[in-house]
Amino acid sequence: MLSESKKSGSPPRPPPSEDISRDDVRAQREAKKLAKAARKNKSFKGKLANPPTSTSENEHPVVPYPAQKSLKTGTTSRALEVKPAEANPSSQSVSIGVSADLLKSDSSSPSVIHSLFKPKKGKELAQSNVSKLYPPFYNVGLKVRNNVIRGANSQCVKLLDAIKDYVRCYDVPPGTTFKHGLFADLEGNMENLKTVCSFSISMSNAVQFLLFYLHNMPDDDGKVIDFKNEILDVIDQYIVEKIEKAVEAIVLYGLEKINEGDKIMVYSITEALMSLLVKAAEDGISYELILIQTRETKVELADVLEKLKKPTSDQTVRVSAVNFSSALYKIRSCSKLLMGGHGLFTNGGVMAQSGSGQLALVADTYNKPVVFLCETFKFCDRSPLDFLPLEEYMPEQFQTEDDFLEPKLIYDVTPSNLVTVVITDIDMLPSNGLAATLRVQEGSTPAKL
């Protein structure tokens, strides 16, 4: 690939004549090569408007060899948003190549691709940001970022608990009212928290709800303690209605789908899914469970097995855990594929653990129903076609030895045509009908929740 461009530029071999000697010919060729390289150098340095024809975004970013060196020195300051102290020169060579390509192609979201290849954010946290952040928030943020708190529901609940704690300790500064002060401060805190860890859909929805509620609270002339209690009650109500009761509702609906003698393939384990499996076992339905196992799901799988081991009416659930690649084979004997959802989108896409899209495709090929379980509070007002724009997909990145930054994908989106039904707390729906149903519902009950 490298040599192609050179070959096109180098002159054709002159016919052997006595006029020009071999050395002269060689010298000519060298001179032409250098001239071409010099031209390419200049064009890269100038941050071109039109991309060179030899490279395109599809093929592996190949930078013509002599130009690569100049890239290291010339474009460092502009191409990367990385702190210069952080990145060492060798890693720059690869990432500069990529970013230069992408900037040239004028993608509408260069920051998206940049964020894929940015080194770990840890050290870049501004000290000032952290000191302005209420310590329990920082605690939650750290734990979410390091995957200590797993699962959308528990992340949301822990965040709301931290907010309750914060509200209890909040002192109104002089010069503002309770409502305005709290609103501004909470908003500021959440902004700062977003630099620590990326919010999951459940977390952002909860925060949005709370801020909206605060905004619409009547202006105070009451006692501060009353307001605080009111807010704490609202948060509790949110948790009970949107999370706990939702899970119970989903379990009720879901039980209709689990029949005696079913063989169910399960992936992307969330709280709702786990509750459903446990309830079905408790009710004495004897079904067979096939758990798909990957490296990231060790903790959840252990949890499920633990819970299913508890004495049920009769031990009638047979569980097998298989490798992800074995799903291709196992799906043939299964009756359905059951997965827990992390978020729902307007275009009907469902966000779930990385790999669920592939499993849905496999199930679809064999005409097996694909069932998602998702609470309605995880509805996200976006229509992503794939996973790249959403930041939650990459909470962690790591660098392999050869300085190639490999983004670690945690979630992906299953398109609506592969989804048979989504079981939510309001009803069992096909996934593209969900957006409309929710809008109608929210429209009819404006400021209640």
């Binding site: 840890g122 050290k123 000290q127 302005k132 209420y134 310590p135 605690n139 750290l142 734990k143 200590v148």
Partner: protein
């Protein structure tokens, strides 16, 4: 709104430098030993200031000495740490150690929050953010910090007498994956063998033993655990926090009768950072010779200009001088570390030596690789090679 720090930094600076007596005598307390122009206790305070600790969040425990107090206040001024909390401890008892310091601080209610214990002899690039984050994520009660030891810079010979440089190493056992701390001992304590208790191995069958790391003596410890220390020392007398109390805690918490205490100890291991603990003469020499590294680590640190008198005709090469030194004519100093107030008379040739405070090197003497104790006077025309010369002070013949 800036939130109150929930961690209080405690700098243990009451030590006497029992492993450096030839260097210090009783004149210089360990925390004031000059390293690259600054007293030793400057460095931990500078690290704390750089990461954002304010004066009132720092407690310094010192001996009851005026010179220490004055030096501490002047350092606090230089660093902008106002409201530094100082606690003095009586310097009489012989078996005084870090555990005692902490106990006194606890009983006088000086430590009110979670404590970050730092020893005054730690000169290190301390990764505070990583340590605090680690502590939070693991919800640990005691987090230790292990980093790589500072290496001797190339082509540098350490001055001082050629003794068998026994590197003080720490032997650490951790549970791989979670980094629970399961075993901790100093190499000096283990004569020939390292003994791992069976109870430890039963609870943690897969233990990783690390020997290439150094304990920075930076401990992040919860208040509840500190209060247990207070309770525990009523039964047993612990002298050193690191040397005795911690191994006691770690080893005993696997024993069945201790199971009511569910302690969580973790070791934060950051081999990318370096540390030097100045508690012995070779490490003191190493710290003084690593000026470049110190300048890199402690940015914006000012190395004060010392008021020395250096006469013409003298040659100094690779030399560090303390405050108020006097070097007379035709003196030749090569690879020398001198502390405060040293007088080197004319014509003396000093090579590869460490000269303690207020020592006097007589005229035309030749010294090679010696350690001259405080206030010692080398006679004129004296020739010494590879010796430790010190004044016999009464304190050495303790009762």
């Amino acid at each position: 709104m800036v939130y109150e720090s929930k961690v209080q930094a405690v700098v243990l600076a009451a030590g006497r430098g029992s492993r450096m007596t030839q260097l210090l005598g009783t004149t210089v307390p360990k925390c004031l030993v000059p390293v690259c122009g600054n007293p030793l206790v400057y460095y931990p305070l500078k690290s704390l200031e750089a990461v954002g600790f304010r004066g009132k969040d720092i407690l310094v425990i010192i001996q009851d000495r005026d010179d220490v107090r004055r030096a501490l206040l002047s350092i606090a001024d230089r660093l902008g740490l106002s409201g530094l909390d100082i606690l003095t401890v009586p310097e009489d008892s012989e078996d005084f150690g870090t555990a005692e310091s902490i106990r006194i601080a606890l009983s006088s209610k000086k430590i009110t929050r979670d404590a970050l214990l730092i020893s005054c002899d730690t000169i290190a690039d301390i990764p505070f953010r990583e340590l605090f984050d680690f502590h939070e994520i693991k919800e640990s009660e005691l987090t230790t910090l292990f980093v790589s030891p500072l290496q001797i810079p190339e082509n540098v010979k350490l001055p001082g007498p050629k003794s068998k440089i026994k590197q003080e190493r720490d032997i650490v056992g951790v549970k791989p994956g979670t980094n629970n701390l399961v075993y901790m001992a100093s190499e000096a304590d283990c004569e020939e063998e390292v003994k791992l208790p069976v109870s430890t191995l039963k609870s943690c069958p897969h233990t990783k033993i690390l020997t290439g790391l150094v304990d920075t003596h930076v401990y992040l410890i919860k208040n509840s655990l500190l209060n247990r220390l207070l309770a525990a020392t009523s039964e047993r007398n612990f002298i050193s926090f690191k040397g005795e109390f911690m191994p006691f805690l770690i080893q005993n918490h696997f024993l069945p009768d201790f199971s009511e205490y569910t302690f969580k100890f973790y070791a934060c291991i950051e081999p990318k950072y370096r540390c030097v603990r100045v508690n012995s003469i070779p490490s003191f020499a190493l710290a003084n010779k690593s000026g470049d590294w110190i300048k890199d680590v402690f940015l914006n640190g000012v190395i004060p200009k010392s008021k020395c008198k250096i006469a013409r005709g003298s040659k100094l090469w690779g030399t560090t001088l303390g405050e108020q030194c006097v070097v007379e004519e035709k003196a030749k100093l090569t690879n020398v570390i001198a502390m405060d107030g040293v007088v080197i008379k004319a014509g003396a040739t000093v090579e590869g030596c460490i000269l303690s405070s207020h020592s006097i090197i007589g005229a035309n003497s030749v010294l090679k690789e010696c350690l001259v104790g405080p206030k010692y006077q080398i006679p004129a025309e004296g020739r010494f090679t590879n010796e430790q010369l010190s004044v016999m002070e009464e304190a050495y013949f303790g009762d």
